[in-house]
Amino acid sequence: MAWLVLFFLLPLLFVGIASFMTRGAGGQPIQPWTLEHYQRTFDVFGPVIWRTLGFAALTTALCLLVGYPTAMYIASRQRPAVRLVLLFLVLLPFWTNFLVRTYALITIVQREGLLNEWLVRLGIVQDPVQMLFTPTAVILGLVYGYLPFMVLPIYAAVERLDRRYVEAAYDLGANDWRAFWQVIWPLTLPGVVAGSMLVFIPAIGAFVTPDLMGGTGGLMIGNLVQSQFRGRGNVPLGSAISMVLLVIVFVGVLVYARWGERSDP
């Protein structure tokens, strides 16, 4: 317990304190107290914060759109062995180093990459399209990185689902549409909420993906924080930005805690 207090809570407290201090000559925090870093965070970096929220929301939505049918498909296979293999196929990329996976995706979407090669060869575009270092690439990278986080909790929820409820809905005259929206969806909602949180939170704090795949238009909060710590940097400003990030994540967790409670049957 002491370990967590010493090396987790105390460092957080230090960052909180540093965020209210003035930047010294070497980038270090010094007295007196000031609010200028928070002001600067919102004034100058406001657009980046909104962009980060947008990227994270879009990533979550895309993961849900792709992840839900995938989880549904896997969970509805009859043979347990097939389910296991499919689940393994979703999980294994997740066990591969994140940097390696990001690099793999870069090789596909880069200017000299396979995707452009085929787009040109099939005559869909005349010249290679710049896809890497755009916001699209960042979102693609985030979806690629976090999709398994969405599939797993939804799979667990579908697996737990009592099929008799669905059958009862059909017996009572519901069509596919109504059976899904009035029975299956509400019963799997806890999985959806959990998956969305598992995607949204790391996406908000993403650093590697925008760093390697985004250009200046794809910068996220994580990159801002990191750049304040490079070289001499500006520790108080970096601290203030990471405090803002922390607050956003906590708000997300609180919403989840409230919502998760309500959607639990």
Partner: protein, 311 residues
């Protein structure tokens, strides 16, 4: 006005027109649903696997390209392994190997420490009766939800301040290195281990331990003979998770590392940030292979644990 009423379509007996339209919609919807039902998962799996397949495939490409195939070759693997023998090829395998060794060191030490501490924490929180237990309970989940970058930055600031204070006090200058990386890894791994072990602890029947005590075992014996063997699969799962997270971590290590303590993810990041060497596909393929072996091994271990449970 419906088409039947306009006389374009003869109204069939017994089934009202609006109902038939609904049925038609249903049928179309069902067909669409069925196609999407397998098409989307297929696209998802292709999306997850295609980049990896391309990466592995082109690691055998004779050309240094990741889009044009120029014939099968093992030259990149040869480069990786031959500079191992010290023939001075461009690719710095010695650095790669050193980073692998560094990673294994960090992961090994931090796993042992985090598993020990995490198990103790789990036991204390579940069994102990002390004020503020619920608060400590919440403390477990914090490192899990907090963004990596916030944790990395906070540790960087923390070590900076502590080191400065230490220098003023004792005159000895400390620097970031293995010590700081391991402390950081333990800090996030402790929480994961504690959560996994607690889940196991929750399913344990407390009467088993009571029975041991009734039969004359002291606390020490009851723990090592009864509680620990039952807890062991959870402890093992926690340790495996800690080891994997530690091996994979980039962001937190990035902020707490020093000179000469490059771990494997840091090394790969360095390669990607500079001019990407063509050997990187071969290196990545080897890393993917290693992680498949690791996952397989952990599955086998877990199977064994499960089988012992049933016995």
């Amino acid at each position: 006005m419906t088409r039947a009423a306009l006389g374009h379509e003869p109204a069939r007996e017994g089934v009202p027109e609006d109902r038939r339209a609904a049925l038609r919609r249903d049928l179309a919807g069902r067909r669409l649903g069925r196609v999407l039902g397998w098409a989307v998962p297929l696209v998802a799996l292709a999306f997850l696997w295609l980049p990896i397949a391309v990466l592995v495939g082109f690691s055998f490409n004779d050309a240094a390209s990741v889009s044009t195939w120029r014939g099968f070759s093992l030259r990149w693997y040869e480069n990786v392994f031959s500079s191992l023998a010290g023939d001075g090829s461009r690719f710095q395998t010695d650095l790669l190997l050193r980073s692998v060794v560094n990673s294994l060191w960090v992961a090994g030490v931090s796993t042992v420490v985090a598993t020990t501490l995490g198990t103790m924490f789990a036991l204390a929180v579940t069994r102990g009766r002390f004020p503020g237990r619920r608060l400590f309970d919440a403390l477990f989940y914090l490192p899990v939800v907090i963004p990596d970058i916030t944790m990395g930055v906070s540790l960087a600031v923390f070590f900076r301040i502590v080191f400065e204070a230490w220098q003023q006090w004792t005159g000895v200058r400390l620097v970031s290195g293995f010590g700081t990386i391991i402390i950081a890894h333990v800090a996030f791994n402790v929480a994961y281990v504690a959560i996994v072990v607690r889940a196991r602890l929750a399913t344990m029947d407390p009467s088993l331990e009571e029975a041991a005590r009734d039969l004359g075992a002291n606390d020490w014996q009851a723990f090592w003979r009864i509680t620990f063997p039952i807890l062991f699969p959870g402890v093992l799962a926690g340790a495996l998770l800690a080891f994997t997270l530690s091996l994979d971590d980039f962001v937190i290590t990035f902020f707490t590392s020093g000179v000469g303590t490059t771990t494997l993810p840091l090394f790969v990041y360095g390669l990607l940030k500079q001019r990407v060497p063509p050997e990187i596909n071969a290196v990545s393929t080897l890393m993917i292979l290693a992680s498949i072996v690791l996952v397989g091994l952990s599955l086998v271990l877990q199977r064994r644990g499960a089988r012992r449970d049933e016995a």
